[in-house]
Amino acid sequence: MIGILAAASLRRHPARTVLAILGVAVAGALLLDMVMLGSGMRESFRRFLLVQNFQLRIAPKGTLPMDTEATIDSASAILRTLRSNPDIVAVTPVLGAQIHVLQGTQALTSFAVGIDQSTEADYQLEAGANVALPDRIVANAAFFSAMHVAIGDTVDVATGFDPQLRTYTGRRRLVLTGRGRFFYTSAEQPVAAVPLATMQAMGGPSRTDRVSLVLARVRDSANADSAAAWVDRAIPRVTTISTDAALRQVDERMGYFRQLAVILAAVSLVVGFLLVTTLVTVSVNERLGEIAVMRAIGVRRGRIVQQIVLEGVALSLIGAIAGLGLGLVTARYLNAILSDFPGLPSTFHFFLFQPVAAVRSLGLLVVAGILAGAYPAWRAASLPIAGTLRREAIA
């Protein structure tokens, strides 16, 4: 019966109720988006780093992975050292370099990675075959589109350009064997992968046995930070960063962003709370006589409180559910806008839908609904019955 009465109260002024629900939905959508933004960027970055489950990134001393053109020499020795640690179960070297894809008089400058053929550490194959043999190349859709080439075509690739002689160096004809989605570069940037040995050979003596980065996978039961510390001790000319350490750095650098998200989430929550409080308070004020009569005929205070709190919760819950849909749509739209930012990897998202974030937002709005109903409910339950009836009679 309390549920029927609460529903009846909300149906009494349908337009007002719908407007309040829409208001809560907008507040809920903003709340969800901010929760998604606050936790989503970090989670997205974590997933981005762990896309192929390599927890360690080993770069030249004092640099961040792929941040400079610096390379690590004696890569073979480093790989042997890394493989000697029982906690490290897989390693894969990567050599990054700029390449020039020549087509007649035109040249497309692109980025390429030389990779260990046994692992797809940098990309996921979408069509064709991996670079299993020397002089093979896998590229992304942007590369195919820019060069107007197809799988099976041969492309003329150079790793250097002498501006004085205006000649390309390190030229080699490579067969396009497949198309891949590269994890760490933006979808619009043409990028390719070739066998590490081919890339080193194209680079000449300066690239022999050199790599830009080594990715290492740590045994599940081992501690990645401890393994990183071991690598730094065993190979002093490198800097090792674990996924957790990278996330800690991201946390530090992105702290202001999360604070902004928290503030906006709190504001939207307060707006939703005030909206529901206002509506329920107005509704209660309109039916003080009715509430006094209910009390007079024997309806308990607790029941009045339940009914009014239920009205607040119903408004919040319906608004929150509508806000969930609205929040997902706006998050998708905003994510698309932000993801267009130049240079961002295609696998990186600002707004990441996580069920826990949705449940958290719903929960916060329902709690806000309970609190929003609490004040008018307390006011209604503590009405002096006789005085209210007397005032109603005079009115």
Binding site: L5, S9, A296, I297, G298, V299, A386, R390
Partner: protein, 252 residues
């Protein structure tokens, strides 16, 4: 049991001498700004079980205040109000609410039905609060609506009913938990003469069927229908007339 049977012990209802209401030297003062309004000044009355009492008097004489004391929605500032032998001043809020739910029926001038509920749901409301099961309360609500002549209107909402019909639904609601005492505050105040007469007939029938009725009214016809009339002025009882004697219009 009939629809108007109360929770009183068998035989007790017919025993007209047992007081259901005893008011002893009741005062009720209200603070109003810097002033104190003395709404009741030492009122003492007894109402026997099965009686039908009309409380009359000019506006502001304390009729509704007295009715509120009898309905346990208010407490006397001084004095004692005993309903069914229980001192209402000693009751805590929860106890008073429970007491009202099971022992007192209220009828108001403005009906105060729940606008979004049907006639039957309105009648069911006090029974639901008293924990009566759905099947039982639906059956009793139908029985009560039939008693007040609204069986065919059970699915109608208050907005779809006339004033007289709404008041009859309100009376059915007041009887839902078989109260020993039915209190009505100006029950014909919002009704035209013909509809008011139907409500007066209904109260008369209710009383005849055993319900103790106390009405506060300005309505001469309604007052005349009562077995006893209590006349008030300035918070005091100035006259008590029995056996259906009609008080003068000036007294109302």
């Amino acid at each position: 049991m009939t629809v108007t049977d109360t929770r009183a012990e068998p035989g007790e209802k017919s025993r007209a001498g047992g007081p259901i209401v005893q008011v002893r030297g009741a005062y009720r003062d209200y603070p109003m700004g810097q002033e104190t309004v003395h709404a009741l000044r030492g009122v003492s009355i007894e109402i026997a079980r099965g009686d039908y009492v009309a409380i009359v008097g000019p506006s502001g004489c304390g009729k509704s205040t007295l009715l509120n004391l009898l309905g346990v929605v208010d407490r006397p500032t001084r004095g004692q109000v005993l309903i069914e032998g229980r001192d209402t001043a000693a009751m805590r809020d929860r106890e008073a609410t429970e007491f009202r739910l099971r022992n007192i029926g209220f009828v108001f001038q403005r009906f105060y039905l729940m606008a979004m509920l049907t006639a039957r749901e309105n009648v069911e409301l006090p029974m639901a609060e008293a924990g009566v099961g759905t099947a039982e309360r639906v059956a009793r609500a139908r029985e009560l609506l039939e008693y007040v002549g609204l069986k065919a209107r059970e699915r109608h909402r208050p907005g779809e009913l006339s004033g007289g019909e709404q008041q009859r639904v309100a009376i059915a609601r007041a009887l839902a938990n078989r109260p020993g005492l039915l209190l009505a505050d100006e029950p014909t105040g919002e009704l035209d003469v013909r509809t008011g007469a139907e409500i007066i007939d209904l109260f008369r029938r209710l009383n005849r069927d055993g319900t103790t009725v106390v009405v506060v009214t300005h309505d001469l016809e309604l007052a005349a229908a009562a077995r006893r009339t209590i006349q008030m002025r300035d918070g005091q009882i100035v006259a008590q007339l029995g056996d259906g004697r009609i008080v003068a219009q000036s007294a109302l």
